[in-house]
Amino acid sequence: MRVSDYEIPDKLHYSKEHEWVRLEGKEAVVGITDYAQKQLHEIVYVEVQKEGSEVKQFQTMGTLESVKSVSDVYSPVTGKITKVNKELTDSPELLNEDPYEKGWLAKINLTDFKKDMEKLLTAQQYADYIKTKET
């Protein structure tokens, strides 16, 4: 679905910190939402914790820098990072151009997704949340 300028794919899970989660078997692919990339604008540097790192839901998993600002990225789930999107090192602009596909940040081996789910939003809930930010 779409809320004002922002794309919000129906099948993903979302956090209030504007990260998304896509389930792929026992793994989750995570990234930042269209809303987040449009707020940051012109991302010039991406840093994600190393493969093998343990991350906890809503704790820092990396840093994004735009020309003027530095922002933390929080992991929307708990688990172990199995893969980091290395393409972002040379092409951080993929986060702006394609936040839900080519701009994914990391793959995470899930510890207990059912528990994570309790604190994540559906696309509809996230859309409603974005609407409150827009007014």
Binding site: H41, E42, V44, Y45, S66, V67, K68, V70
Partner: protein, 378 residues
């Protein structure tokens, strides 16, 4: 109206086309298309900025030159009518109260343009110090709209709307001209490192914004063939940083002297007396202990940011401004370091989160001045 709700004549344009932020109590555009494309438009073509938020005072009267020479560090007596100079004013300890441009409009009449964030402070300081002189200090900020037209194509763009021959106005000179039929004043100055003009639309209060909007639209139209972009505060900051120009509140403030900031060229110690002179003379004689330098990151990675520490075996200083440079495509910074480390070509480390990032001490501007900036070889 609350302070944060101040707007400029062009607010409707900004609201429709830009992301808006609050800056110095004004609702201002931070970017339209983006900092990078706007920055590159100014470095390679032309850009226009709304800088109406800046503070402007007219200082007039028989003793206006003597008054200026008492409050500012530069020598106002070298100004001929319709010329401008960069300067600072200091407190008694030599700390910088603000930096600004003074233009001499005519004998006994000067225009001072200073930072938006210091509007009230500067006005109060000027008025307070003017008491001993026969001068009038008049805040004309709200009666003037101000735009900067900057970049290698600034002159051909602005010439299409100006009656005066702009090729006759050299760098740091000014002139009166009609702009799209409206009374205006231009100075060949700016905050980007590029050639360009700052444009003043006279007698245009916010309540009657039509003439300001007319001039803005005319410049936008005139610049179409040159690829003009409206530019926000984001690009203004990255451009001035690449050019090595200070931002008040970041790189200079009341605890830093112009000698430490590398602004000694605006401190004329031979003048009779001026506020801060004794402290600055003493510091000059004893030598400064820290100095503002440029740092260019040597590796791809995060960009340096204000407050980060600079190290060489031990802590030697701190970053005051830092950004990703759109032109150089690497991190750049201004930092204060111990004077023994302020050596061009030296290597230091900037502490960014858990990393030590290698940087080289470089001279300003960060870019090659034969290829970019006002002195480029055409």
């Amino acid at each position: 109206m609350s302070k944060a709700e101040r707007v400029t004549h062009l607010y409707q344009f900004h609201k429709q086309n830009a992301k808006i932020v609050e800056f110095a109590g004004f609702q201002m555009p931070i970017w339209y298309k983006g900092i990078i494309p706007e920055h590159m438009a100014v470095r390679t073509r032309v850009g226009i900025f709304d800088i109406t938020h800046m503070g402007r005072v007219i200082i007039s009267g028989a003793k206006s030159e003597a008054f200026l020479n008492y409050v500012i560090t530069n020598d106002a007596s070298v100004l001929t009518p319709l010329s401008a100079q960069y300067s600072v004013m200091c407190n008694e300890s030599g700390g910088i109260k603000d930096d600004f441009v003074v233009s001499k409009l005519e004998q006994e009449r000067f225009l001072m343009v200073y930072n938006a964030a210091n509007r009230e402070k500067d006005y109060q300081w000027l008025v307070q110090n003017a008491k001993a002189f026969e001068v009038k200090v008049e805040d004309v900020s709200d009666n003037i709209a101000m735009f900067a037209v900057q970049g290698p194509n600034a002159q051909p763009t602005l010439q299409k709307v100006a009656d005066a021959d702009l090729s006759k106005i050299e760098r740091f000179k000014c002139g009166w001209t009609k702009l799209a039929g409206v009374d205006g004043f231009v100075s060949r100055t700016g905050y980007t490192g590029e050639d360009g003009f700052e444009v003043f639309v006279w007698n245009t209060p916010l309540a009657d914004p039509e003439s300001a909007i007319k001039v803005w639209n005319a410049i936008m139209k005139a610049g179409e063939e040159f690829g003009i972009e409206p530019c926000g505060l984001g690009a203004r900051d990255t451009l001035r940083l690449e050019a090595g120009m200070c931002l008040y509140g970041n790189d200079i403030d009341e605890t830093i002297t112009p000698l430490e900031a590398g602004l000694g060229f605006v401190v004329k110690l031979k003048k009779d007396s001026f506020i801060g002179r004794d402290a600055l003379s003493k510091q000059k004689a004893e030598g400064i202990k820290r100095k503002r330098v440029g740092l260019r990151m040597l590796e791809k990675g995060p960009s340096p940011r204000p407050q980060q520490e600079v190290w060489k075996d031990s802590k030697i200083g701190y970053v005051t401004s830092g950004t990703f440079s759109p032109l150089l495509e690497c991190g750049i910074a201004m930092a204060y370091v111990g004077v023994e480390h302020a050596v061009e070509g030296g290597t230091v480390a900037v502490k960014v989160r858990d990393k030590d990032l290698k940087a080289e001490v470089v001279r300003f501007p960060f870019y090659d001045p034969t290829k970019y900036g006002y002195a480029r070889q055409k």
